[in-house]
Symmetry: C3
Subunit: 633 residues, 3 copies
């Protein structure tokens, strides 16, 4: 596979006279694919039913003329102002019940039926007109679902749709009452029409009420996306794409991904370090201009799973952004490093956001490849160099990793509904274990709970709400090593404690009696060093105990190829545990210097120095932001 | 007196077939009293006017068959969903004006007249049916008033009732204008109907407006409780009980207590340490699995006063709970220690919450005596041991302490309305002084402002809003030592500065010129060591000065048996001051090792080690969580 | 000029029988001017159209009898309760859309037309009655505009007025769409009536939308004030005054000041230190009882500009206040120091707030010159001494400073709309540079962007949104030194990046390629010591570079008399830079000991010791809170 580079372009922001020179320059820089149109509804359809496609025709022609491929987008993330006049109740409501007003973007409720129809209408019209255009190599549907906390709406539309969803799921109200345990506080309902959204309750609502609302909200995104996908699919076979975000777990990306051909995500390493990585301030300071050394990789691996192997970076940070609490510039070399890292994780394309910095509106302080005055931005030569390197590079062969982590969206919602300890977080647990594995230099795949385990030597299953039948079935015949993480199997699908207590694995004599949570500042030390942080289960077991707390509680339990980890290990403990697991599974690894990371494809091994300082790796010095590769035989 | 143990049981959560075995096991464990029914309204009355008492009949019979006594509860903390359909405006509103929706518990406004009637109706129906049952030894009314901040409602019902309450209090609007000082910012009203609730004002409302609203809100709880008490009282003479909470001061518990026979409280030492003790993080870490060493004791003494001598622990934490920011497990031995400590403070009963951990709904992570799979939880043997010990123990003789602290709810509301410094808090001041006294090993009674002082050798009166006539009268003839604390007597009942400046005691020539507040990190050192924190009054006096700041301001003023304390002493200063006071009052004391606490009844002296480490006390080593007792002659 | 002292008095709070003695005592203390009436509407007009002027007649007469001058106030900050009955929609709404209810003060929306008419009505009636009274030397209009965040209202009245304001500004909706860059996210409007207030949008609204709303909100204050000014002006020629606050930048004080004769402000050094100075906790602790050593001076200089040379302290803190998070007492001597410092900055009058501490309502814990029991408060002798000193002092001659800082309100709004880094703040930047200059002992004038630069040797222009033509014109012929600060010239007036990139100065070859922001804990060190904090611009330049970061980025660029500062210097860097600038400009300075500050008038040089300890200055020891002066030749 030969990866390509691209950029995001907004012809509607610039005079048409500039487009040709822009396109020429893009091609000259070595860019291949240009995404356009995702916010341009008011320019497609300035008033209801009146369309002005001519400029878009011309823009696409101009790009095509210079040999550029186009990803065309539906503009449904930004309905025009007249749309709100037509459907005043299309706006979502926040958890406090306030309308989320027009004036920025994503101002719609996924449950509003008429807005769904409007979305399908514009998608169909665009597909009708442009599907056959040879320059168009993909369609992006909408933009960044979930961004600005837009998945869960507390509008009347959402409430009505939630009742319908519940009725479809439970059929009878008694089934719901039983599933939710509504006897608990006399919360029993007489009919579905009595059920309200789980906001503004006096104290916390029933966790199954919450979880079902989170499931419903995710399903609304899935069905909303599917409607547009079907509308476009009727006219074309080119890939359909959505651009996901970092650490957005409030809808099931796997399910959206199942209706599309390619997954992509918008990778902003410096912004995400500050506002989404969860890293402490020392870590943030160390990687201030480089980004978290594992955050991008995790999402690359995750979206490879979401895209069933096909994925892009649709927006790549090229300089300072405008939206994080603080916005430093990438260290020289980092944009190249991020690009190569995506390729090392088997990205098909990396598109820089955006071509030219806009001089107006919300993102005017967001860097592009060009400055607002059309001069090359600081990063421009670095992108040019990267484009040349890729051009000259061998084909990249994909490969399945030896190690996999099962990651499940629904479990994230469950632990959000019931953290039990303030620091417990489903994404955080998976990401922390992923980071510890990465410190050992291994490549990792991320799996859906129902994915095949074939070919893996080591599989981690941390924090999984309930056991899916299909996963249990696979485990029964799986010969690799399995590490089941804390909290896995601790509930039924209805968010109740199962009859057989957690981890609820018939092949392991291991029972969680109770759980303790404690502040991250108050960890429980382990006998062999390191500690358990945040979460510790009190386990009764007759199996072999491999790790204990200093006061003798079992922490790692082993039987055959199964290990059960009864707490959240800190870095030292995790590394010891993983080294032993990798040794057992006969997987090669090597402890990387801090901030150095590695990934192998089927054809190459890449090493990345995320540090702002030089570091020696395998006897050779890597400069700050350096990338090193070697071909594998 | 012979204390008993018990538990909280929810027959409606389990199949009837399990009840007999449950009851048998409870009796075998040594439990005597079982609380049932406080959340079961939807099972008593599944639809308006249709009752299903049969299951409750059977549950009570089953418990009685095994010799167990029953506390039956009115279920008014959890009105069923149909109730909200009948009375949509019965929901409270929060300070932002949002409805506090159905879906958890305590979803009612105390001022809603129709809901008051519904509450009386169900209480009367239950009393009619069960009052004569010989197994029923007590009635609990509602559950945990104030929990989830439910005392103060900003609903229309509350506004209307507040106006009526004000008209009844002031008769004429001019009297209110004068009492509140409404001339201040042209806030004068022309009629009671113009007065609104004191939320959402541009800046802070008049403190008397706030204080009157807080008084009103408390009175609404009192009258609501009294309505149910009267309904049940018409049918039975067994004790009426309410289960209060820790550090809830937003209604006057003494007034609710005056309408009941027994006070009880729900003691969750580990949860309260984190979210209510106010302790700093080092203290929280030290006592993470033991609870604050004074928090339980304070409430034991407080609720003994509220119950006029008769009190229970209605819910005792038996393991990790689900609701604090973090939820560790009690150190082995602590459940026993907490039980004995309650007894040392003269509790009549200690009931563990709950019998069996629920596998569903909000509290599924809350430990019980049994696990959800009906196996004994980790604490079970410890409870069994405690039950045996109590069985074999002598009778406990009650005793009045030598030392008393006057604690007043209304003053807490006043200082909430006008803290003047961000760290000033009425409960916090009283609790801090209580803690310092406890470090000296003395037993303490807590008194209402109008209680008799007879028999006390030392009385503390800290932070009392205004002097009640009855207290002044008592002081004039009291021969023991009196320590009047900062802020006492600083206002009139209408929250104005009195004509004679604070502390406004005619027998003491002492005038507070002004008050200073400062951050807890910036204390004012005292000449003899230690410091004043948070609050310091500038006092003019001709009396003897016993303590001064290093720059010469009087801090402790003395005349005869009266002392006036013009600031909030830190631990070092408080201990020196109290040692001198105890010496003067000829009260024996001894400085306890940190984390060790002591209490004496009329018959025994108990010593408790709250530390997670062993400690030597009076020449003998006490293990972690150890309890020691000796009979007094 | 001979400064005078005064106080704020509330005859309506006290029995008429007390007024004469109060007035006698004021005069005896040496006070000359008494402000009255700003909150007394309910006593002027107890019901609509019924007036009770007799008491006010008598109060003015009583003051006049003792030779006291009067500043009479319109009472529009506190409309009576009946006003809200007449105009229920006159209340402002907060950003969440909640009504800001009656019950404190400032409960009106500046855009409510009927309330504007009511305000003019009462102002006219008062002027009609009292304008000719010889004791009245000034009129204060309203009280503390902006206090309690009251400039920006989200009411329907505001929305309607905003649309009118926009239509008047842009004439055509397309002009607005272009100015705001609404193409960006399909935010284009079809008509002005579609535009809503920029609150509760899904994510941040367009910055020009915000900036226009902030401009509109400021204009509403200006026009509201002007209406009252015109109403009074029709009857009298005595000065009109408003009392501004500390660090309130949400309306353009210069524009309000243009309609009045005298600016005044309410100076609460201890309260502002805690809640407005932005100082870190060590600084707050050091100056806990003295106030920030630069905060008062900055506002003195600012309001001298707002008043076009004429300014007062209308309210001077005389002891502890009631409204800050903590409220310590001024160190003995500080009230005198603050008074002299105002005089050193050329104040015409300093009035202590308030004469007698009120025993009731919101500010009952706010100290006065008298205690509530009418005894002299602790500060009384210090005020008496200060009055005597002033009486005996020479005339103060005003003088223009050598150094000026341009300060612009609109720029503060712009950076509030688009901070780009969480610590960037327009006021904060200007104040920080001002502080660094003050550490060098120089006197400073603050200038409006359009002020004349004549006579200045050094002018600072930090953080100015866009270049006004008039300023550019002045700079072209200005011969003094100019330091242009970071972010200056970075936008057009429509909040777009200008075609010539920032700093957009044709005479300087200097281009900001991009901007970096970073946490205050992560500064970028400079080659010559010190660092840049918060904000750093990446600059391309061919000019002389005077300062660089350690990795070689230009930070201070120089050509002729122009310097461009491309970041926010920390204290060490700022002092080095300013020393060089002062040397170049041949301005005498001397590095002051920390906490010691200096200001010169045309006739005297004053030195102030803000420290709580003695310090040696120019070979002589200054005691804590000491003031030293010497006559200049």
């Amino acid at each position: 596979m030969k990866p390509i580079l691209g950029t995001c372009y907004y012809p509607e922001h610039w005079p048409a006279s500039q487009w040709d020179e822009d396109a020429r320059q893009m091609a000259e820089l070595g860019l291949k694919v240009i995404r356009i149109g995702e916010f341009a509804w008011s320019r497609y359809e300035p008033e209801p039913g009146r369309f002005t496609w001519a400029w878009l025709d011309q823009a696409i022609e101009t790009l095509a003329k210079h040999g550029l491929q186009v990803v065309l987008c539906t503009p449904t993330a930004t309905p025009p102002r007249w749309m709100v006049d037509r459907h005043p109740d299309m706006l979502a409501r926040d958890e406090q019940g306030n309308e989320r007003k027009f004036g920025s973007r994503r101002h719609y409720c996924f449950s509003h039926i008429a807005y769904r129809e409007e979305s399908v209408r514009i998608a169909r019209l665009m597909a009708e007109r442009y599907a056959k255009h040879p320059a168009i190599v993909g369609w992006q549907i909408d933009n960044e679902y979930s961004c600005h906390d837009t998945v869960r709406s507390y509008s009347d539309s959402a409430c009505t749709a939630f009742r319908v969803w519940l009725a479809a799921k439970y059929h009878k109200i008694d089934a719901l009452n039983t599933a939710w345990g509504n006897v608990f506080w006399s919360m029993e309902y007489d009919e579905f029409a009595q059920i309200e959204l789980p906001n503004l309750t006096v104290t916390e609502p029933c966790p199954t009420h919450l979880l079902d609302f989170y499931r419903f909200s995710s399903d609304q995104v899935v069905s909303y996306n599917k409607l547009q996908a079907e509308a476009i699919r009727a006219y074309t076979d080119v890939p359909l794409i959505h651009n996901y975000m970092g650490r957005t777990v409030d809808f099931d990306h796997y399910k959206v991904g199942a209706d599309l051909e390619i997954a992509s995500w918008d990778s902003y390493p410096l912004g995400f370090l500050v506002d989404r990585s969860g890293a402490d301030s020392a870590w943030q300071q160390r990687f201030e201009r480089q980004g978290d050394p594992d955050f991008q990789a995790f999402h690359h691996d995750l979206y490879r799973a979401v895209g069933n192997g096909r994925w892009w970076v649709m927006e790549q940070q090229p300089g300072p952004v405008n939206w994080a609490p603080n916005n430093p510039a990438p260290l020289p070399g980092m944009v190249r490093l991020w690009t190569w890292e995506a390729i090392a994780h088997q990205a098909e394309a990396v598109c820089y956001f955006r071509w030219r910095q806009a001089p107006f509106a919300q993102e005017q302080m967001h860097a592009g490849l060009l400055r607002p005055d059309s001069q090359p931005a600081a990063v421009y030569p670095e992108v040019a160099e990267t484009a040349r390197e890729i051009q000259q590079f061998d084909d990249i062969q994909p490969a399945q990793a030896d190690v996999a982590i099962v990651f499940d969206y629904e479990s994230c919602w469950a632990w959000e509904a019931q953290p039990q300890g303030e620091d417990f977080d489903g994404f955080g647990l998976a990401f922390d274990l992923y980071r510890s594995l990465r410190r050992l230099g291994v490549s990792i795949d991320i799996l859906k709970p129902e994915s095949s385990l074939d070919g893996y030597k080591l599989v981690l299953i941390p924090g999984l709400l309930a056991w899916p039948e299909v996963l249990l079935a696979q485990l029964s015949s799986f010969s690799g090593s399995v590490l089941i993480g804390p909290r896995t199997g601790s509930k039924t699908a209805n968010f109740q404690i199962p009859a057989q207590l957690p981890p609820n694995i018939s092949s392991l004599d291991c029972t969680v009696q109770y759980v303790e949570t404690f502040p991250i500042t108050s960890p429980r030390p382990l006998t062999d060093g390191g500690a358990v942080r945040t979460w510790l289960e009190s386990v009764q077991t007759t199996e072999t105990v491999l790790e204990t707390t200093v006061d003798g509680q079992p922490v790692l339990i082993s039987r055959g190829n199964l290990r059960y980890l009864a707490g959240w290990p800190d870095q030292e403990a995790a590394q010891r545990i993983f080294q032993r697991l990798l040794d057992d599974a006969e997987i090669a690894y090597s402890l990387m210097p801090e901030g150095v990371r590695r990934r192998a494809t089927g054809s190459h091994e890449f090493t990345f120095n995320y540090n702002a300082t030089s570091v020696e790796v395998d006897g050779e010095v890597m400069a700050p932001a350096a990338v090193r590769w070697r071909a594998l035989d």
